[in-house]
């Protein structure tokens, strides 16, 4: 019995020491804990890779920050930022008026069109009429969800919401969805996979609506941390100017992802 108690105490002590492992200097960069190629996706070693990870490394090197990738559930990423579980979000998060009420953003670091993919051979167009009567999948708390709710839902499109983009793609391949709306680049990555090639094709970009889709993707930051924000903005500008941004972008894309 004594032994058991000692073991218990030891386990508790071990648990407590786990608290203060990370040092105070490090910046925890929140990303969504899901495969989101080509921006962030886990490899078999448990490391995260992709364009956005390279972007993060470049920004952190430029701003002389010690960055640690911290995967969090996408639907809890803003609360995690507020609760200081993470210090910034580099997760393909679009800058929108809605989000600016709660968090702050750096300048944009990329901007891509929003597209719709669908089952091969089906007559689907990325317009309210072209999708009427169909089932459209979107990821929760994304600009795509907001867009679909505003433009497509009133036209009689059934909208299904998924925790991760990957699950929506999966259900499209399984035939449970007729179409998926998301970032054109992320959709393209899915269409390049064996599964994507087999099931679906690109149906086109949706009409622009800056109010909902926002001017682009920025680094999510807590409100009231102006100094930190300036630092990140300076770093983004610096890697844009010194060619680092273009250098790693070329590895992934054959066009300018920064957008106009």
């Amino acid at each position: 019995m004594k032994k058991t108690l000692k073991l218990l105490a030891l386990a508790a002590a071990l648990a407590v020491t786990g608290v203060a492992a990370a040092s105070a200097e490090t910046v925890k960069v929140g990303i969504a804990a899901e495969p989101y190629p080509p921006f962030t996706s886990p490899d078999a070693n448990g490391n995260w890779e992709g364009w956005e990870i390279e972007f993060m490394k470049a920004v952190c090197a430029e701003a002389k920050l010690e960055c640690v990738v911290t995967p969090v559930a996408w639907d809890g990423i803003i609360p995690a930022l507020a609760a200081k579980k993470i210090d910034m979000i580099i997760g393909s998060m679009s800058i929108t008026e809605e989000r600016l009420k709660t968090i702050d953003f750096s300048d944009k670091y990329y901007n891509t069109p929003t597209g719709v993919i669908g089952t091969k051979g089906e007559d689907i167009k990325p317009t309210p009429e072209g999708l009427a009567g169909k089932t459209l999948g979107v990821q929760v708390s994304t600009v795509h969800q907001a867009y679909a709710t505003k433009h497509f839902a009133p036209a009689g499109v059934e909208i299904k919401e998924y925790q991760t983009q990957d699950e929506a793609n999966q259900d499209l391949a399984a035939g449970r969805l007729d179409a998926v709306q998301a970032d054109a680049i992320a959709l393209d990555a899915f269409l390049q996979s064996d599964q994507g090639k087999a099931c679906c094709d690109y149906k086109g970009d949706v009409a622009q609506d800056v109010d909902v889709l926002g001017p682009g993707v920025g680094v999510g930051l807590r409100q009231g941390e102006a100094e930190f924000k300036d630092k990140i903005n300076a770093a983004i500008q610096a890697i844009r100017e010194n060619g680092t941004y273009d250098a790693f972008s070329k590895k992934y894309f054959d066009f300018d992802i920064y957008g106009g």
Partner: protein, 274 residues
Amino acid sequence: MSNETTHALAFSPQDLPKTESFFKPHRIVLIVLFVGLVLAIAIFMRWDWLPRYLPRLGNGILVSLAMLFSTSILGFLLAIPLGLVQVTGPWLLKGPARLFCTVIRGTPLLLQLWLLYYGLGSLFPQFPAIRQSFLWPYLREAWPYGVAALTISFAAYEGEVMRGAFAGVPQGELEAARAYGMRRWTMFRRIWLPRAVHRALPTLTGETVLQLKSTPLVATITVIDVYAVISKVRQETFLTYEPLILLALVYMCLTGLLVLAFRYFENRIPTRGA
């Protein structure tokens, strides 16, 4: 003290406070403090979103309850043969039944749910015939997978209980039935099954409460239950605590009502337990 009958100590009718002896001086102080806390939550936190979501919340609660009752009833019906074959069945049935219970009870429900929904879903493209079949309209939806996973889970846990209940019916009663010249089927129908179900009834409250607590998992496969509605509130309002507090409150009320209902029914069944 043995708890082998249920897989956890669920909230049960014995846990409800009795009205007599409830109001004591310290309790009144606690209640005042509690009311103060509730008022503070109501006043200082943001609740302006609530009216907008009320209809959807009501819908969500209905979906949760539908999930709960359909899967509990289906699961219980499945549990009876599962328990029975483990007691008397030939090894050809006994083995698989035992294996089924062990595997289901040994793995997390969330994993089973995802295996059913996404695992099966990933097989569909390889068998195009499935999409032509009459089942396809159902296979397209999310709720059948939720119902299947929850039913299987309930059946496995309650199957263990039924195994014990069947084994626990006194041999003498069965021998008496045989002495009366009952055939095996009659004996099963008239004596063994009713006695076993009676023995298992007290565990039903606990199992059903646990089942209620499992239902929010279906929100992870796009079923819009009350948990999913609250998730939507969280995402649209960027609030964390208020919706979750409300959700906890909703589940506490549901649990309380469920337990009260069971207490009512248990009191009406004269031969409770053995």
